[in-house]
């Protein structure tokens, strides 16, 4: 609607612009400049960046202007020869710049500028600093360039008695992440690359939270804004992007239903947690957080590690440029306060694209570079990938790299073998929501230089080269970049019709007047066990960043209680089909008159689902430690009438005394749930992997 309006407006303006003589400002002196411009942490390349009246200007049709707008998801409409350029901001607000007018209009409000847009030849030159301010960016200059920082504009809370909504308005759609500090009972919503003027602490009225604190850390050119919400014990909370506006909402409520999850099915990165849980394994990603290197098993020889390459990729082949965060990017001279130097690799495109969030790290290898140094090679299932790096000054020298939109296939790895300049490299799944982030933390033995880029002649391999480098006090300490490859792997086709890539359907078998199997000797009833396992599974999946839809979450019949078995089983399928779940898992407990039968079996029907069944079977057996009865194809209703990959897990035999004994233990039910969750992760690649 808004965009349509902008087009109409522009068309009208084009007519009025025809009569305009463009020579009136032809005398403005524009001095070409090599100043650097950074927007949202990225360097933006301009063709005709100039200085006029001491401020940066660029033509409306300059690729740099287009990139600048792309990075904050704004769009410009302008026709050569017309008097007006109209920019539609991410929140829908129109910004109008008018030739000869030293005021621009922001949503109808006039805002003064130092000078007016002007024509020089056929080019309409726009003053960039007022444009950045109108885009609600923080504008921070330094001697050799200009930094435009997206902002957390406002943090506002309101409570309706049932729920408390904390709305965090941003100047551009934010790639935020959340963490929960169980000791302080604090939810942190973290906006890397965002600054803010909304600093401070405010009390939170209502019964769900205590306070809201807004802080900004990190270098001014690439700051991180954190909104910390003190949560009352036992309150459930979720964070998600609001629809229709660049805004992130944190919702707190005593009851999960009051979170209005159903209304938020469109939300990206939805995760629900309860403040009793302790789901955050690592501290938030402030530059001072030390990677927890000792937490993971030493796994330098673990399975995902491929044999080390024997040949160096000639560190930075010209066809495969490598970003050099610490060395190649000179610090802005004369401005010690600005430490950002975001240096992206050249991916052959004038406008960096957001990282597609569907990529997995499928293998890791580490090798010594013959010329001196260490190279870590990550094999990706696709690309390109965006990354963000930070380093600490000497003598600490630690360096870490967050690769966004990427999941780590396999366990966390700590590489500790004797490598030049490196004590330890820790590779972990740092975050899963709102987007997966793989963190590579390097603990060096001395100051290092790190080169990041594609490995030559190898599609989808990302090389991280660690070389010795004397410390430079003015070298940048953070930046971002992109690695792209010519060949990009395509994910295997999935023939089902799931539409929600981050939604899992869980079906706890039986329920209500259908108890399923039972073993009175151990007090086991199938319908109770399936629910207990399913609720654990739900929590595990939510911790991994999934949304979950349950066919039942208590002891009742699914569908019409008076309906027949057809309605009952079809109703379970309907729940998953209607929700467009990505996969369907029916949880059962087996039984047999043959009491010797024991172990886990995963059933499927469609041949295409065998891979899913095998993934679940493997990880459940690994987790539960009981007999592996394998995957079986069987004519079970719920795996036939669901529209997505579907399996039915018969977790254990309650008719077998050994299995039954295990089923009485909550820890065993935990293992079953974790096993199923891991199998889902293995098969799908995670909640952000493509359908």
């Amino acid at each position: 609607m808004i965009r349509f309006g902008a087009v109409v407006l522009c068309a009208a303006m084009a007519l009025s612009g025809l009569a305009l003589g463009v020579s009136q400002a032809a005398g403005v002196l524009v001095v070409p400049t090599k100043a650097k411009v950074y927007v949202a942490g990225r360097e933006v390349a301009f063709q005709n960046l100039g200085i006029a009246y001491n401020d940066p200007v660029a033509p409306a049709n300059d690729p740099g202007v287009r990139t600048m707008l792309d990075l904050v998801q704004a769009q410009m409409t302008w026709q050569p020869g017309t008097r007006f350029a109209v920019v539609t901001r991410a929140d829908g607000t129109l910004i109008t710049l008018t030739v000869g007018s030293a005021a621009l209009s922001v949503g109808g409000t006039s805002v003064a500028m130092p000078f007016a847009p002007f024509y020089k030849g056929d080019d309409l030159y726009l003053p960039l600093l007022p444009l950045g301010k109108a885009l609600q960016l923080g504008v921070r200059g330094f001697a050799s360039g200009y930094v435009f920082v997206p902002q957390v504009l406002a943090v506002q809370a309101h409570s309706d008695g049932q729920r408390t909504v904390i709305a965090m308005t941003t100047s551009a759609p934010a790639a935020y992440r959340t963490s929960y500090d169980s000791h302080k009972s604090e939810l942190n919503v973290i906006f890397p690359g965002f600054g803010t003027d909304a600093l401070g602490t405010q009390p939170l009225s209502g019964r769900d939270g205590r306070s809201i604190k807004v802080t900004e850390n990190g270098p001014p050119g690439y700051p991180t804004t954190t909104v910390t919400v003190g949560v009352v014990h036992g309150v459930k909370f979720a964070a998600h992007r609001a629809s229709g506006a660049p805004e992130v909402e944190a919702v707190l409520a005593k009851n999960e239903s009051a979170l209005h999850l159903a209304d938020d099915s469109h939300a990206v990165g939805h995760v629900t947690r309860t403040s009793e849980a302790t789901p955050t394994p690592e501290p938030s990603a402030t530059p001072s957080s030390r990677p927890s290197a000792g937490a993971a098993p030493a796994a330098s020889t673990a399975s995902p590690v491929t044999p080390a390459p024997t040949r160096a990729p000639s560190a930075a082949p010209s066809s495969a440029p490598v970003a050099t965060p610490a060395a190649a990017a000179p610090a802005p001279s004369g401005s010690p306060g600005i430490t950002v130097q975001p240096e992206a690799t050249d991916i052959g495109s004038p406008s960096p694209t957001p990282t597609p969030i569907q990529i997995r790290v499928t293998a890791l290898s580490v090798a010594e570079i013959p010329a001196g140094g260490t190279r870590l090679t990550l094999t990706m299932s696709g690309g390109p990938v965006n990354f963000e790096w930070h380093r600490l000054d000497d003598p600490d020298n630690r360096f870490w790299l967050d690769i966004h939109g990427v999941t780590l296939q396999g366990p966390t790895q700590t590489l500790t073998s004797a490598l030049p300049f490196v004590k330890e490299i820790h590779v972990s799944q740092f975050a899963l929501d709102p987007e997966p982030v793989v963190r590579i933390a390097i603990d060096p033995t001395q100051p290092i230089d790190v080169n990041i880029g594609p490995v030559a002649q190898s599609a989808n391999q990302m090389g991280i080269e660690i070389e010795r480098q004397p410390p430079a006090s003015d070298a940048p300490r953070a930046g971002v970049g992109t690695v792209a490859w010519v060949a990009v792997a395509t994910p295997p086709p999935i023939t089902h019709t799931a539409t929600q890539r981050d939604l899992i359907a869980i079906d706890p078998g039986h329920g209500g007047n259908d108890p399923g199997a039972s073993n009175s000797g151990y007090g086991l009833v199938e319908k109770e066990l399936t629910l207990q396992i399913a609720l654990r599974l739900k929590q595990d999946l939510q911790r991994m960043g999934w949304r979950v839809v349950m066919t039942r979450d208590s002891d009742y019949e699914v569908g019409d209680p008076n309906g027949d078995d057809h309605q009952e089983l079809q109703a379970r399928c309907d729940v998953a089909n209607a929700a467009g779940a990505r996969v369907f898992v029916s949880v059962h407990v087996n039984s047999s008159v043959a009491h010797s039968l024991n172990g886990t079996t995963t059933y499927y029907w469609r041949p295409a689902d065998k891979t899913f069944a095998q993934a679940v079977q493997n990880s459940v057996v690994l987790a539960d430690g009981i007999a592996d009865d394998g995957v079986k194809r069987n004519d079970f209703y719920v795996v036939k009438h669901t529209d997505m990959p579907a399996v039915l897990v018969e977790t254990a035999f309650l008719s077998n005394s050994a299995d039954a004994e295990q089923l009485t233990r909550p820890a065993f039910l935990d293992k079953l749930a974790q096993g199923i969750a891991n199998g889902i992760m293995e098969f799908t690649g995670g909640p952000n992997a493509p359908l």
Binding site: G509, H510, D514, P515, G516, A517, S518, E526, D564, D565, H566, L569, Q570, H588, V589, N590, S591, S592, V593, A594, S596, L597, T601, Y603, K632, R633, N634, D635, F636, Y637, V638, K640, H641, L648, E650, F653, L654, S655
Partner: protein, 159 residues
């Protein structure tokens, strides 16, 4: 070569139907320890075939093995199975407690219908088995897992 390719494409996995020698009939019970099929061969009147042979087969299936084999009858006491044949399909009207509720495991349920399906498809010309519950086509046993509103074949079962 062509035959080999065809086999690679799936014929090896297709459950084989036992060719019954005249005067012999195999009833597929379920082994008590493994729930695998436990075939027991019966000597029958060579003139017994078609519906009569099918009726004989389900009667033996409910009665249990007459030999000393360690096989079990998974159909609960009181179960009735009325069989009729049409074309390549046997229709079995199941009566008794199973029509009210099923409280066994998926493993037993699968083995139970597998033994019924395998036994009836031992009758020459029969490839499919449609199960009715008390005369009506139903999606599944109450509390059951297997889909019953479509005919079962040997391929319906865990392989």
């Amino acid at each position: 070569m062509a035959a080999m390719l065809a086999c690679a494409a799936g014929c090896a996995k297709k459950p084989a139907q036992v060719v019954q020698a005249p005067g012999h009939f195999t009833v597929d019970f379920v082994d008590a320890g493994t729930e695998a099929l436990a075939p027991v061969e019966y000597t029958v009147d060579p003139n017994l075939r078609g519906p009569g042979l099918a009726d004989y087969a389900v009667t033996q299936l409910l009665a249990g093995p007459s030999t000393g084999r360690d096989a079990v009858v998974l159909f609960p006491a009181g179960t009735t199975l009325d069989v009729s044949l049409q074309g390549d399909m046997a229709t079995v009207d199941l009566g008794g407690p199973l029509t009210k509720s099923y409280t066994g495991g998926a493993e037993d349920e699968s083995a139970m219908f597998k033994s019924l399906t395998y036994t009836l498809t031992n009758v020459e010309g029969i490839a499919r088995v449609q199960v009715l519950l008390a005369g009506k086509k139903r999606a599944a046993l109450p509390g059951g897992h297997m889909e019953l509103d479509e005919p079962l074949t040997r391929e319906s079962f865990a392989q």
